[in-house]
Amino acid sequence: MSATTDHAPGRSGDVTSAGTPVVQIRGLVKDFPVGGLFSRATFRALGGVDLDVRRGEILALVGESGSGKSTIARCVARLEQPTSGTLRVDGVDVLRTEPRRASRAYRAKVQMVFQDPFGSLNPAHRVEHFLTRALRLHRRTASAVALRSRLAELMDTVDLDRALLDAYPHELSGGQRQRVAIARALAVEPEVILADEPTSMLDVSVRIGILNLMRRLRDERGISLLYITHDLAAARYVADRTTVMFAGEVVEAGESTALMADPAHPYTQLLLSAVPDPQRAGTFDPAERAALRAQVLGATTCPYAADGRCRDDSPVHHAVAPGWTVRCHLYRPQTEVARRALDVAGTSNA
């Protein structure tokens, strides 16, 4: 895992700066208060996360709900205040320079697309309103004429009919709404877009369209995306690298296809084995697989076995390959366990 802290200059699209992180997270901790008014109890949603989003890449953050992946996005979007840790955007330690609330300049760099397109667009406003506000707030347009053409351009970018500028959110389908949300983020001309499960509430037939749009934004505009999802197949499809989270910790990170072909962490293996895949249909009876899984997990004392070892003695990151790390007590290069798990995932060990 590269720990470079270069003050990356210039905006995206700069070929030489590709590979340096635009967002760099170190030791991010977030505690949420639990219990009543006088309770001091807290729940640790993030337990010291390290994460880099490189320039012009799509980084997938996968894990179950409650694993803390959305909390990371909300911390980077400055919707939540982290308990501790550092967050650098373009090399600037933003929690230090703007500790209370994010500046507009920061908002211009970091935008977010939310999970629920039915909730993220105010039903009281028209599509045009969302885009115009974003353009105006960040002074991205000079004149009314420029505004009109910029609006049209934004709608074209996200493949929406310009006529929909006059529509209210309730008149749009889920996919169309999510495209509006993406257009609103694009209006600001950000360097990073945090996409929090942008497809999980959409009809399946339009999901691929949104994923393709994300790829296009990366390829054509050099925008970096932090793509949060529980869908490993989608992560593999769209993301250059994938980071797997479990219980507020990063347990494995690496290049997407390599990681999913040969997962090193038992939890990643478990996640992969649970994904329904028509290509595997018939080869796996669900009950059989559950039995196999229990066998694998019973043998490996993974997080689900909850013997407390990981709690008492935090595992360290092992390097599996360059740019690929796993955080597990049990990781041994090419162990019996890993091979059996691969069988479970139904993937071939190339």
Partner: protein, 663 residues
């Protein structure tokens, strides 16, 4: 409405074939199969709000009464030109031609007093309403938006004002401040804003939690903008009803204060009219006319405002308007036989290939319509399939395609405006659509059970798991509580939950466990068919897989058939024996699951299959269905191979635009 009634009447007379919809009826993907419904909570529907308000009878009556009073108020100098406070000799006269409403003890004309009194009373009422609502909105929004300390302080102040006994506070304040209409207004605003603030705070809090507020913040909007331009418009209906409520409070309290002599008694208002009437002993001498007009006016205005308030509620929350119709949803009593007699069509034969001689479920040409006020939407269009004993039949499709409509129709759970207009549903040979209510009750849990997508939240939060399962047994079977409890424990163990959890409440279980409890309850009476409508959509993949394994186990043990509904093709292909893909209320393809996997024929099926990128192999560019692509005029299924039925199709009308080369 009249359209709906007349059509359903004709249907009742001639059910069956004649009532079939046009074959090219279809839904578009964007619109849901459920009838168009307005927002259920705060935000006002943007279009036609005023129009629908004026169409509401309560609102018309309310507005009418208020308009009458407004006219009274404006035309007072014309209607009662004489000075209402003028004291004459003609005291305590009952109504007569000269004094239509009689005179007070001092000889003042009661009609004139009442008319002129409207000015002060209504002015004070509306001013109080305006000011109290304004304060309440500001405090509520600020508390909800800023949260933390601001919320604590503002909520504390609000609650203190709410707890202070209103009337004594009014009396004390009114007694200390110099008398006058201004004082009355100030006093009423001070005592009246807190209720508004509390209601609006809790509403604002719930809206504050919505993503669009976070989205606006991320875009860079400031506090003021978010509060007044993002939150407030979504609270319009509640703000309006709060305003109407505080106006009523203002008018009533002003009258009360003045009746007690705490206002300025020299002002003419309905309250002072009552005060003077009481002071002059009008009631004791039987001079009812001195009291009645002012009292009636107060009651009338309050009544009108309340009506308006109700109307706002009804217009913004259409659920309050849905007429309760008994046995809505079934419109073909006996019609099933007619249709199934003619069930030799090509569509019907598509389903004739289930295994087993006597199918558990046999659906023929099932047609369901949603009848809106202006248009009728076909939710399911001549749907036919069978499910054999112990078979898993999958129904795939996206939101609005009609798959849930089919499930609800089979269970006869459809409610108005959904109406079954044709076809038949047979369960083990029995006509489900013709079942009387008592048979239906036992059919619904004993023969066919259903697990909904939101089933996890269908558990009663204040009852233990054990009590809820026991309830199932005791309502459907003659068993003792002890026996029911024993069976409940066995049932939990069947779904691999420890029997000690019988005493647990739903919130003490994880989402996956709750879903397993729901499934356990569904199979408690050993049904022969289990309908599962997106049973794992809200769950994580690992939990989803456990649930699916659980169902496979249960099926092995209990041998029930499954109708499995989902949008997740991968999951469906893994689990189902045979499946059908549904679009716009129609089946577009039906085949064994392995066949669909190997050679999907219909472009829509292929789009659904493509929606799930593979976990292995090279990463290639996939294309989903482009935004706005529609399939229309879906024809009847044609058998292209043994057991593989496909609707005739062209390529989509608007092919997805070319995108970049594969990554």
């Amino acid at each position: 409405m009249s359209v709906t009634e007349s059509t359903s009447a004709s249907l009742g007379a001639a059910p069956g074939a004649g009532s079939r919809p046009a074959p090219n009826a279809h839904l578009d993907l964007a619109s849901d199969a459920t009838p168009p419904a307005g927002p259920s909570g705060g935000p006002l529907p943007r279009r036609g709000f005023v129009r629908s308000l004026l169409r509401n009878r309560k609102a018309t009556v309310g507005v009418g009464i208020l308009a009458l009073f407004a006219a009274l108020l404006l035309l007072a100098p014309l209607l009662a030109p004489s000075d209402p406070t003028l004291i004459t000799d003609a005291g305590s006269q009952p109504p007569s031609a000269e004094h239509l409403l009689g005179t007070t003890a001092k000889g003042q004309d009661v009609l004139a007093l009442t008319i002129w009194g409207a000015r002060s009373s209504l002015a004070v009422g509306f001013l109080v309403g305006l000011a109290a609502t304004l304060v309440g909105v500001t405090v509520g929004l600020a508390a909800a938006y800023f949260g933390k300390v601001t919320d604590d302080v503002l909520s504390l102040v609000t609650n203190v004002f709410l707890l202070l006994p209103g009337l004594p506070l009014l009396v004390v304040l009114a007694a200390f401040l110099p008398p006058g209409t201004g004082t009355v207004i100030v006093v009423l605003v001070v005592t009246g804003w807190a209720g508004a603030a509390r209601v609006l705070r809790s509403l604002a809090l719930s809206i504050r939690a919505k993503d669009f507020v976070a989205a606006a913040t991320v875009t860079g909007e400031g506090a003021g903008w978010v509060m007044f331009r993002e939150l407030l418009p979504n609270m319009a209906s509640i703000v309006m009803s709060t305003f109407l409520g505080t106006v009523i409070f203002g008018i009533g309290s002003q009258a009360g204060l003045e009746f007690l002599g705490l206002g300025d008694v020299s002002v003419v208002s309905w309250g002072t009219n009552l005060y003077w009437a009481s002071n002059d002993g009008a009631l004791m001498v039987g001079a009812w006319w001195a009291f009645l007009p002012s009292g009636l006016c107060i009651a009338l205005v309050a009544f009108a405002l309340s009506l308006l308030n109700y109307a706002v509620d009804e217009v913004t929350n259409p659920r309050l308007r849905v007429p309760r119709r008994r046995r809505a949803g079934v419109h073909a009593p006996g019609g099933g036989t007619v249709v199934s007699a003619a069930a030799g069509t090509a569509t019907s034969r598509a389903s004739a290939n289930g295994h087993g001689a006597t199918p558990v479920l046999e659906v023929r040409d099932l047609t369901v319509e949603y009848r809106g006020e202006n248009r009728t939407v076909v939710g399911a269009d001549r749907v036919s399939f069978t499910i054999g004993e112990g078979e898993v039949f999958g129904l795939a499709g996206e939101s609005g395609c009609g798959k849930s409509t089919v499930a609800h129709a089979i269970m006869r759970l459809l409610r108005a405006p959904a109406v079954i207009t044709g076809g038949s549903v047979r369960f083990c040979g029995r006509d489900v659509l013709a079942m009387p209510d008592d048979q239906l009750r036992s059919f619904r849990w004993r023969d066919v059970a259903m697990v909904f997508q939101s089933a996890m939240s269908s558990l009663n939060p204040v009852m233990t798991i054990g009590d809820q399962i026991v309830d199932v047994y005791t309502t459907h079977e003659r068993v003792s509580r002890r026996e029911a409890l024993r069976r409940a424990a066995d049932l939990l163990e069947l779904v691999k939950i420890d029997r000690s959890r019988l005493r647990a409440y739903p919130h003490q279980l994880s989402g996956g466990m709750r879903q397993r409890v729901v499934i356990a309850m569904a199979v408690a009476l050993r049904p022969r068919l289990l309908i599962m409508d997106e049973p794992t959509t809200a769950l994580d993949v690992v939990v989803q897989q456990e649930i699916m394994a659980q169902i496979a186990d249960l099926r092995r043990e209990l041998g029930f058939a499954v109708l499995f509904i989902t949008h997740d093709m991968s999951l469906m292909i893994e689990l189902s024996d045979r499946m059908a893909v549904m679009y716009g209320g129609r089946f577009v393809e039906s085949a064994p699951a392995a066949t669909i996997l190997a050679e999907p024929r219909h472009p829509y099926t292929r789009a659904l299959m493509n929606a799930f990128p593979p976990l292995t192999g090279p990463r290639t560019e996939l294309r989903g269905l482009a935004e706005g692509v529609r399939f229309t005029d879906i024809g009847d299924l044609v058998e292209v191979a043994g057991g593989h039925w496909v609707a005739p199709h062209d390529e989509p009308h608007d092919a997805p635009r070319d995108q970049e080369v594969p990554a």
